[in-house]
Amino acid sequence: MLSWLLGGGAFASFASFLYPVIRFLEPPRITEAPVNEVAAGKVQDLKPNSGKIVRFGAKPALLVRVSETEWKAFTAVCTHLNCTVQYLDSSRQIWCACHNGMYDLSGRVVSGPPPRPLEEYAVNVRGEEVVISRRA
């Protein structure tokens, strides 16, 4: 009985030391206001058949000017292992350099290991400004 009490007390005190350490190591959850729309730059900044990475909240997004009038935007985070994708003007596809994942201009997986398509954003041109927004 005494040894149970002693052992239990030692265990409880050890657990009480360990608990704050574990909680300390756990990164705090910072709730950021969700971003649904960003200004991605001026129309003339991007030539037809080219793409660029823009900031969409805390994550990167890929804006592609497909032609003079057609624009596309996707999350730039590869669905495979989180790398940032890029636009390939030679093949008019979206490519991830990390593991050779390839997507088409609808965000669908064409080849390579990505398991899911890229989330597509809506693009609106307001005057000279290109605006990317999350689809409803």
Partner: protein
């Protein structure tokens, strides 16, 4: 004589007689596989180089997103011999893992994992894991483009661990994304947590080797094996090998200085030709080959689970690598060992070339 008196004085207080006894009586078997005994010592030597150069780098390195890259560039361009110290640290880290792999495979092919040396094998595997942890955490510290994306991929691989994956990835990253919190965490792992664990495990590993003595391969009859005194005979030979390793290291560091690359930009695409350190290349290339889906499962998840199972199976070698009598299943283990060497070599080369 004053030195004799000083030795006696120390002996009275520290009990050095036991150490002297140990040194005088420790022997090393001499046979056709004796050369493989040196590789554990070379690993230890390279680790000592890492400690010394790592401490020196800490005098100038600053673990923040704003300053990390510039502080490493400062070390390489402004600090006297800074380029050499940093280059030796990087080259030595890579050679250390290479030599540790040779050491592990030499233990496997000479069947030194068999009873009573199971704990020696397990502590060695844990040390290899720690060395790879050093490599992974140290890779991020210069905060360059390649290391940034390698860490993103590595953390995402950790996120695929069943049940605890998401929490583990958050713990590693210090948040939901690789950023400043990741850098300070990795710095803490690299310079405090991993060295403390390594020191403890290395002590245990050496103690176990000391306790069981050097293993002789099963095809060499233990009786009648010639023995060499550890001190000075084996030690001096090992010291010569260390000099050789130092010469190779110095030449590599001076002729091929380790590059710094470009500063990490979280809002840039992953650069072309991105690849992890060579010791993760085989897994990297395998992940590249696995299709997006296998039946109803995600290919990536299956691949990562397969690596986990393989690592566990490899760790359990002292269990499946011996028969009921505790004798090594030499053909099975050697055959699988050759297959593993072939897989790692071929996929590492393919991962580098493609």
């Amino acid at each position: 004589m004053p030195e004799r008196r000083a030795a006696d004085w120390l002996d009275d207080r520290l009990g050095l007689g036991a150490v002297r006894e140990l040194i005088e009586h420790k022997t090393v078997p001499v046979h056709s596989a004796t050369r493989w005994y040196y590789f554990g010592g070379i690993t230890l030597f390279l680790f000592a180089i890492q400690v010394v150069t790592g401490v020196l780098l800490m005098f100038y390195y600053r673990p923040t997103v704003a300053e990390a890259f510039d502080s490493v560039r400062f070390i390489m361009t402004r600090v006297e011999f800074g380029w050499l110290i940093r280059s030796i640290h990087s080259w030595s880290a890579n050679l250390l893992i290479f030599v540790a792999f040779i050491h592990m495979f030499s233990v496997l092919f000479t069947h030194a994992y068999r009873p009573p040396r199971e704990l020696t094998w397990w502590s060695g595997i844990a040390l290899l894991g720690l060395m790879m942890g050093f490599g992974f955490s140290g890779y991020l510290l210069p905060w360059n483009q390649i290391s940034y994306f390698a860490t993103k991929v590595g953390a995402d691989v950790a996120a695929s661990t069943p049940l605890i994956g998401a929490a583990l990835a958050r713990f590693l990253r210090g948040g939901d994304e690789v950023g400043g919190a990741t850098l300070t965490r990795f710095f803490a792992f690299h310079v405090m947590v991993l060295p403390l664990l390594t020191a403890a495990l290395m002590g245990l590993h050496l103690l176990l080797i000391q306790k069981s003595g050097m293993s002789t391969p099963p095809w060499i009859p233990p009786a009648g094996v010639r023995q060499m005194k550890f001190f000075p005979n084996f030690f001096l030979r090992e010291a010569m090998v260390w000099y050789g390793a130092l010469a190779v290291l110095g030449a590599l560091a001076a002729i091929f200085p380790w590059e710094l690359g470009e500063k990490a930009d979280p809002f840039a695409s992953a650069p072309r030709g991105i690849r992890p350190e060579w010791y993760f290349l085989a897994q990297f290339y395998t992940l590249k080959l696995i299709p997006s889906h296998i039946w109803i499962f995600e290919g990536e998840l299956l691949g990562i689970l397969a690596f986990g199972v393989l690592a566990l199976w490899w760790t359990l070698l002292p269990v499946w690598g011996v028969n009921r009598a505790g004798e090594a299943r030499t053909r099975l283990v050697a055959g699988l060992g050759v297959l593993m060497v072939a897989y790692l070599s071929v996929f590492t080369i393919l991962g580098y070339l493609k």
